[in-house]
């Protein structure tokens, strides 16, 4: 800026520092608490210095919530949703942008409607079909052909049950739609002149061009899926499918037990680390993805 505004600068810095403190202090308290002993963590006043029981607490948390398995499941779940959603939404955006048909608009609407309905809102309806997700197809086949098909498809305790309802949302579709609209028309025209079909154009030109968008979308989807809580909680009755976020429940100090908040905090830190790393390290992509998906 050209002007000199010493007063405004001081105020600005004051705001920036206060905000930074408010962001970081909770992190610091949790880190401190996770390294203290039970007595220290419950002491008044709270001590803002790390204690010496870090390894013990982290090991206790790891064991109490079976975090090895939980983190693995979370990685699988987040990986499947991320890749699935990118594939599905790139395809459907391709269909919306590069073809014109009277069904196009209907499709667009159907997809758009789903945008504002997070899983939390439709959890009861989705739970309703969880025991038998194949039912609509079975009804369809039966009415069309008269054949009764004896296939069940049950979402409980399966990776498909954990992931597919999350893949279904349309946020990614809109990112790709936005991006495809900015791809110069000449590219598609040239492809058509060459006689290569739409699939060739999609695979050879459109996808390579979207690489940065995919990475940006992937960072968001990863963090978002990792942080899912309610759905895994309902869809998992077999502990071997439990995810990191649902493991938080096991970490809270137990009924009538010791108030061992040090272990709780240690476990919580382990659980939030993967998405935090993604956001901190890949911040450029993450921010780009955020802005692109929501606009």
């Amino acid at each position: 800026m050209i002007e000199k505004t010493p007063f405004a600068n001081i105020v600005t810095y004051a705001i920036l520092f206060v905000a930074l403190t408010l962001v970081l202090v909770p992190f610091w308290i949790v880190i401190c608490a996770s390294t203290q002993s039970v007595a220290q963590v419950n002491a008044v006043p709270f001590s803002f210095v790390p204690g010496g029981e870090m390894l013990k607490n982290y090991a206790a948390a790891w064991q109490r919530a079976d975090l090895g398995l939980a983190l693995f499941n979370s990685f699988v779940m987040a990986g499947l949703v991320t890749s699935g959603k990118i594939a599905v939404s790139a395809l459907s955006a391709f269909a919306i942008v590069y073809f014109r048909s009277r069904w196009g608009m209907v499709f667009f609407w159907l997809v758009f409607m789903t945008l504002m309905l997070p899983l939390e809102v439709r959890v009861v309806p989705t739970y309703n079909i969880a025991a038998d997700a194949f039912q609509p197809f079975r009804l369809l086949i039966q009415t069309l052909t008269g054949i009764e098909v004896g296939i069940d498809w049950n979402l409980l305790n399966t990776y498909s049950g954990l992931t597919l309802p999350l893949v279904a949302t349309a946020t990614g579709t809109f990112l790709f739609r936005q991006f495809f609209m900015t791809v110069p028309d000449e590219l598609a025209e040239a492809a058509r002149m060459d006689g290569s079909g739409p699939w060739r154009f999609f695979v050879d030109i459109l996808l390579p061009l979207s690489r940065t968008n995919m990475l940006a979308l992937a960072t968001i989807l990863f963090a978002d899926t990792w942080n899912q809580y309610l759905w895994p909680r309902l869809m998992v009755t077999d502990p071997s499918y439990s995810t990191a976020m649902t493991a938080l429940r096991a970490l809270r100090p137990s009924e009538n037990g010791l108030p061992d908040w040090n272990v709780t905090n240690a476990g919580a830190l382990i659980i939030v680390l993967p998405p935090l790393i993604v956001v901190a390290v890949l911040q450029r992509w993450f921010v780009r993805g955020l802005i692109a998906t929501e606009k």
């Binding site: 025991a131 049950n154 009538n256 108030p259």
Partner: protein, 445 residues
Amino acid sequence: MLTKIFGAASALALLAGLSGTAQAAPVKFEFWHGLSGDLGERVQEACTKFNASQTDYEINCVSQGAYDTNLQNTIAAYRAKKHPAITQVYDAGTLDLMMSNAFVPAKKLMADSGYKIDWDNYFPGIANYFATAKGELQSFPFNSSTAVFYYNADAFKKAGITDAPKTWEQVATDARKLKDAGFECPMAINFDPWFSLDQFSAIHNQPIATQANGYKGLDAEVVFNKTKVVDEIKFWKKQADEKLFVVKTKALGMDPIPAFSSQTCQMAMSSIADHGTVGKTIPAGVEWHVAMLPVFEGTERQKSLVGGASLWVMKDRPEAEYKGAAAFLNFIAQPDMVEWWSTVTGYIPVTKTGFQAMKANGFYDKPQFKGRELAIESLSFTEPSDNTRGIRLGNYTQIRKEFSTALEAIFMQNADVQTSLDEAAARSNTLLRRFEKTYAGQTLN
């Protein structure tokens, strides 16, 4: 994507089919329970003992973390046909199970599997909670408890109190003495209706609901806003206002039992199942005892209610699993297992022979277990009657929630006692009518 998953699913189904046809291996079946932490490990130990005792069956015990989660997950799994052979359901969920048509009655299961069980061996004070009005057991009493009164005898001495309080009036006087002796929290209370509603009503011979607490029909209505419960809450509230009774909940930092064992509070009510925990966590050398729950002066004391959970065998499992389930249930009912289970947990023996065996062994004379027999005494203080047999109300989990919400309003926000309880009762009756309508056409047996 979809085809992949369908492929995987059918491959899995194939695998499952194959393992089902291979007969050589032991029959595996699942048992879900709601205990966690120390108690959860003890259940696991019981399962390990069963597996080591024979080779035909292999039980897989899965902790779902808490009673209510276990019920929710059992329901989800039952709907998806992935339910366990045995599940543990807490007292409040009993009627939900009874009406579900999703279980095999205890008697039928054992008869089909060729076990001769002396059903009269179960303490009537326990069994009636889980039996039909005619007395047929539907599920297996497992971890049973009742509420007792814990007090710190060292603190009592300092305050010049000699005996355990028998009445609420004495509790108040003792609390005053403790307060004067410098104890900040004489008596810990919480909002758990199990003490203030269930147990209080039973030992004071008050109905919680009409129709014999629901045993005689689904058209029961709660009446806790018209019984001595109202006096009790008013009495508690008065003591709380004078800071003689102190509310201790997890949200406020500490439940009554940790408050008691950390010597923050000198008197508390809790389950006898916590007897072991208190013994382990209270500093060594501190003298503490349990007593039966206090009653109001002039009350003819009745038996208390059983708490804890029972084991239900679920319908629609392969035939072979039922044989395994029956074997397991028979195994844990053996006197030596009953004794082991009561020793390591604090739950009471559910059969008369189990209790006799433990008494004969001198179990209750050992200092660390002294007082646990009071639970049995409390449970069999009188013959079960309409008011003390149990509670057979639909949606009872929610009714308890309404009641504890009312207590929250009364103790934390100084809401009027009668108004709050009236509201809770009205809301509970709405829940009951809904439950009745859901199961219209079915009769309670």
